[in-house]
Symmetry: C2
Subunit: 145 residues, 2 copies
DNA sequence: ACATAAAGTGTGACTCAGTCTCAATTTAAC
DNA sequence: GTTAAATTGAGACTGAGTCACACTTTATGT
């Protein structure tokens, strides 16, 4: 379980090892992601950041999201919208999502049976699994008539 | 298992029941989808159709894909690209996808254990499952070193 | 077959997420 | 402090998809 300081350390490490620079913008964006709702999109985050730090550009936010994804501090995923979603990649080694089609509420889960079965299916089809993504869309308690 | 004639019937039926028109464009697009690779995207399809029927517009192709999705003749889904993929919704009541990250090859599968487990997970979290989508990304035999 | 009303179409302008270019700025390291 | 390389902000650009609207086609009734 990665908190802010561990994430920061991971970032500094990666930057150092790859002859990249530790900039104020990168620090600020990482800080703000930790303040932000767990599942977010780039444009939301950019608008939020822009309000507080009006010199940070959209390009830098997008570039930093890519960087943090490569490092494994955040994860880019599709949660059923037609643009990318992101989340901190720290709660569990892996989890999938239940999404309410009405209110957008997101519930996370990790299930060993499904994980195991996916590895078996991949093998049976001659593939080496690298990653996977499961979204269950439905209606939450508040939105079932 | 829905062949072209069953799909056409389904389309005509839906149109009749909703006071919509059976047009040449809609017929042509349905025909061409049946000629096309099983997993495709809208822009590919539009370019392909445009070559043979140079009066059919992009807007009509997109509008028809929406229509056919609503009827359940095709299905719109995310196969890991940053634009929508489509496929005929006829082979199995439901299936998911294994996708090679290198060559893009798509293998379909349907697994009862996973399907059942998803229903259980939804229940346990107080959700009614409406649909779901599972993509396993990996490397196929030809692309594993 | 013809008239009519409503649905559908093509065009091109538009939106929106995301990327790119490039001059100006900042960082890391000596 | 100097310097070279990396980074940034601004705004132009791209590509998928949508929209408005004048024009065309379809379905229906006669
Ligand atoms: Zn809900
Ligand atoms: Zn999550
Ligand atoms: Zn492959
Ligand atoms: Zn498929």
């Amino acid at each position: 379980m990665l908190d802010f300081h561990a994430a920061l350390k991971k970032l500094r490490n990666h930057l150092k090892n790859n002859d990249l620079r530790f900039t104020n913008e990168r620090l600020t964006i990482l800080e703000e992601i930790f303040q932000f709702p767990p599942h977010f999109d780039a444009e939301q985050l950019f608008i939020y950041i822009r309000k507080k730090h009006n010199h940070i550009s959209r390009a830098t936010v997008y570039r930093t999201l890519d960087l943090l994804s490569q490092i494994g501090i955040i994860k880019k995923e599709n949660l059923g919208k037609d643009y990318a979603s992101y989340e901190l990649d720290y709660k569990m080694p892996h989890h999938d999502h239940l999404i309410c089609e009405i209110c957008g509420k997101v519930i996370e889960f990790a299930d060993d049976i499904i994980e195991k079965r996916q590895r078996e299916i991949s093998e049976n089809n001659g593939m080496v699994m690298v990653r996977h993504q499961l979204q269950i869309f439905g209606r939450c308690k508040e939105h079932t008539e």
